[in-house]
Subunit: 313 residues, 2 copies
């Protein structure tokens, strides 16, 4: 059986191995991803984003449990804001993965940003393609933080959930700076904490200020307590309502185009980076060029010109 | 006079115009940047990063004032986490720029991430080169947020300052997730607020846990109140001490290499992206490819293969 066939048959180990080979840019793995993409239907892709400490991981764990009770198969892609130096994963993800390690209906993949510009996007795109190939019923992409890169990743989802916790007053500033426009659903998690009602009100006010309450879909502001599971069922219902809205309004097509654009950029970037390294003569060539530029004997602009104006080998 | 000469002579309008032309990838502008880079000494580059709401903008404003009193010329590159949809700049930056609009010794450039993978890095690199050409005494790069992209930008600085505010307990989680290892100096701003001492203690504990207190440079944890200026002088002194440490320990050379690597990646990526667009037949060709991929008639991997395996025109 080919890689793509094994993955389609639901082989989790083959899927994990395939994704490792994709990261190494192995041609047979890239071909398998291409085959999976073209021969799968689009998966229900949910983006879960928000500040660190809002309780996203626990919330996702709750969602997994409820989906599994409903016999749905679930994938999770955890984009990990790991240290740029150690490249290590957050402890929480490892713990969470252990909760479901014996369940074939759950596939969790943690992706670390290894500091390679664009590398993360390609890994995300490949992971989604694999989970589509396995016909998962729901795939969640978890991103941590409120920076541009996190927002970009969340945008490939059909439905984006922004999770906040009460008492992080400055989160409202963050909303103004980006998340407000990508959120389809807001969740105030840890709703047993003081200030939850104020946070809900703050968000609702921001929604009005942004004019999103006048649009066809006004993001609901839900309250959950992921630890005891309260409100999670309501979140699942809101996710279904949003999907229905997307189908009824033709917005689903638009979302799929946004995702296709992301895929093109991610894949081409990965390819371009490989070309660049080839032109430089591998990593050691890159290191040498960096040395020269640091000593100001040349500059990045002149270097790129030399590389591109020389005839291809 | 050439562009580079005008910029070297301190012409702010020529500098602003040059940077706009760089964004449009105009060859004469790219050549001017190359000339400036090779004929300038490295500027004292400070990275200022932290969560939204920590008061970075006000703090930078205080730093500008103090540097100007000491007759130092100052550049600021504000990397703006603008909305992915509107592309608008934050109001705060515009207000801040107006404070210094009549001062030739201050050059502020706001850069929006226009959603173009890698485009921001090239703009940052060009802005730094221009400010080097103008022999500014200090250049600050302000990034908002704690995501990977923000951390990456901050890393090209010689000294990176991470700004926090009291009462954002969850910021400590963010520290674990990345900023801890890039910070050379921590600042707890808004130190008049309750909880400032706790936040200082939390950070100091994180420093110990990370083992950074056993290294040659242990990041100091300072308290400032940018609104009334208290603590800002101490921050300036810490910045000078860190610079001295870099010089004494040979670390300065390492920092300059990190920056050179960033420049190479940024510039080559910009060049490659232009090549890619040319191969696709411009933006409309890209749009068409995206449509096909969204309809799953092809996939990003096959597309990139077709583009790169076809002979160059």
């Amino acid at each position: 059986m080919s890689f793509a066939q094994k993955v389609k048959a639901g082989d989790l180990r083959a899927a994990a191995r395939l994704l490792r080979l994709v990261d190494d840019q192995r041609p047979e793995a890239l071909e398998a991803i291409a085959e999976l993409y073209q021969n799968s239907a689009s998966v229900r892709l949910l983006g879960i984003t928000g500040s660190p400490g809002a309780g996203k991981s626990t919330l996702i764990d709750s969602l997994i449990r409820q989906y599994r009770e409903a016999q749905l198969r679930v994938g999770v892609i955890a984009v990990d804001p790991s240290s740029p130096i150690t490249g290590g994963a957050l402890l929480g993800d490892r713990v969470r993965m252990q909760n479901h390690v014996l369940d074939d209906g759950v596939f969790i993949r943690s992706l670390a940003n290894r500091g390679q510009l664009g590398g993360l996007s390609a890994s995300v795109a490949a992971s989604v393609a694999v989970m589509e190939g396995m016909s998962f019923d729901r795939v969640m992409i978890e991103t941590v933080g409120i920076g541009q890169s996190e927002v970009d990743v969340a945008r490939i989802a059909e439905t984006t959930v922004v999770v906040l916790a009460p008492g992080l007053g400055d989160d409202v500033q963050a909303l103004k700076a980006g998340s407000m426009e990508v959120a389809d659903i807001f969740v105030v998690n840890k709703c047993d904490r003081p200030g939850a009602t104020n946070t809900v009100r703050d968000i609702e006010q921001q929604i009005m200020l942004s004019g999103r309450d006048a649009q066809a879909w006004t993001p609901p502001v839900l309250q959950t307590n992921a630890v005891d599971g309260s409100g999670v069922q309501e979140l699942i219902e809101a996710l279904e309502r949003h999907r229905q809205y997307l189908e009824d309004s033709d917005s689903l097509k638009v979302r799929h185009q946004v995702r296709a654009r992301f895929e093109v950029e991610a894949r081409l970037f990965q390819k371009l980076r490989a070309e660049m390294l080839a032109k430089l003569g591998g990593t050691s060539g890159l290191d040498e060029a960096v040395e020269q530029i640091a000593r100001r004997e040349t500059d990045a602009q002149t270097l790129s010109k030399t590389l591109f104006d020389s005839p291809p080998e």
